[in-house]
């Protein structure tokens, strides 16, 4: 999909959103399309390279049975204050519009105290294990192993 010299750099690309709901998010962000392994639906997740950890919407976690996974109980400072939760490993898929989908496993923080509708993809244990690139002229997100 995206090549660096003679080698493949990424395997797929998708169109990302920079503003989802204007009133709530006045500044541009990067929302990419993902799907969890056991779900037939897609959802948007915000890329946040400045965040140490990824955060999974607790209702999606509950729906998919991820609250029962073995994990490490942890208390983290988040943009919404200090939250008690658990760190777990979860497989999910970056959905491609072109090229190929990419399934990876990452570490997510799940807290029942986290508001619905917000899933973040942070650096440690997730983005630190993959290649990604942006073409902000056309809102393309490139990804791959």
């Amino acid at each position: 999909m995206l090549r660096l010299g003679q080698a493949d750099f990424t395997c797929g690309r998708s169109r990302y959103l920079d503003i989802l709901e204007e009133a709530l998010e006045p500044t541009a962000k990067i929302f990419v399309k993902i799907a969890f392994e056991d779900s037939e639906a897609s959802s948007w997740a915000q890329i946040d390279t400045g965040a140490a950890w990824s955060v999974l919407d607790p209702l999606i976690a509950k729906r998919l049975g991820y609250l029962d996974l073995d994990g490490e109980p942890t208390e983290l400072d988040t943009r919404l204050g200090r939250k008690v939760g658990v760190l777990v490993r979860i497989p999910f898929r970056f959905l491609a519009d072109d090229g190929e989908n990419y399934t990876t496993e990452g570490t997510f923080f799940i807290s029942s105290d986290w508001p619905s509708g917000r899933t973040f993809l942070g650096y440690s244990g997730l983005l630190d294990g993959m290649r990604f690139a942006l073409d902000p002229q056309v809102n393309h997100f490139y990804f791959g192993p």
């Binding site: 395997c11 797929g12 998708s14 169109r15 959103l17 989802l20 709901e21 204007e22 709530l24 399309k33 799907a35 779900s39 037939e40 639906a41 897609s42 959802s43 948007w44 140490a52 919407d57 209702l59 999606i60 729906r63 073995d70 994990g71 490490e72 942890t74 208390e75 983290l76 400072d77 760190l87 777990v88 490993r89 497989p91 898929r93 959905l95 491609a96 519009d97 072109d98 190929e100 989908n101 990419y102 399934t103 990876t104 496993e105 990452g106 570490t107 619905s116 509708g117 917000r118 440690s124 244990g125 997730l126 983005l127 630190d128 294990g129 993959m130 791959g144 192993p145």
Partner: protein
Amino acid sequence: MGQPLRKAEPETRSYRERIRELVEADRVEGARRLLAEALERGDHGEDLSGWQRVLAKGKPIRVGGGELDFDRTPEVTWIREKSDPYKGQWVALLGDELLAHSASLDEVMSVLEANKPPRRPMVHYID
């Protein structure tokens, strides 16, 4: 006059405790180094497999598989223009068609399972 050097106290806390403390301070690389030290020593009698899992880097599983996604502009337009009455609810959209909505994600997913749409819908919470 200089302070007398204090002899370093031996570490009495468990590796699990020290790793958690580093993680909770967002010092992920420090936590990984301490975990590596613990695994190399191996004489502490602690089960650190949970920390080994969650402190690992993102792991590639598979390239390919599953249907490709497609242009979601109609879904986004729907959210921007028509989502106001659905605040506090989950919506399932395919193009500009609202397939299901409810305050309960389980209910929305049940509707999708009962009436499987032709392509993968987008599920979104209206804040």
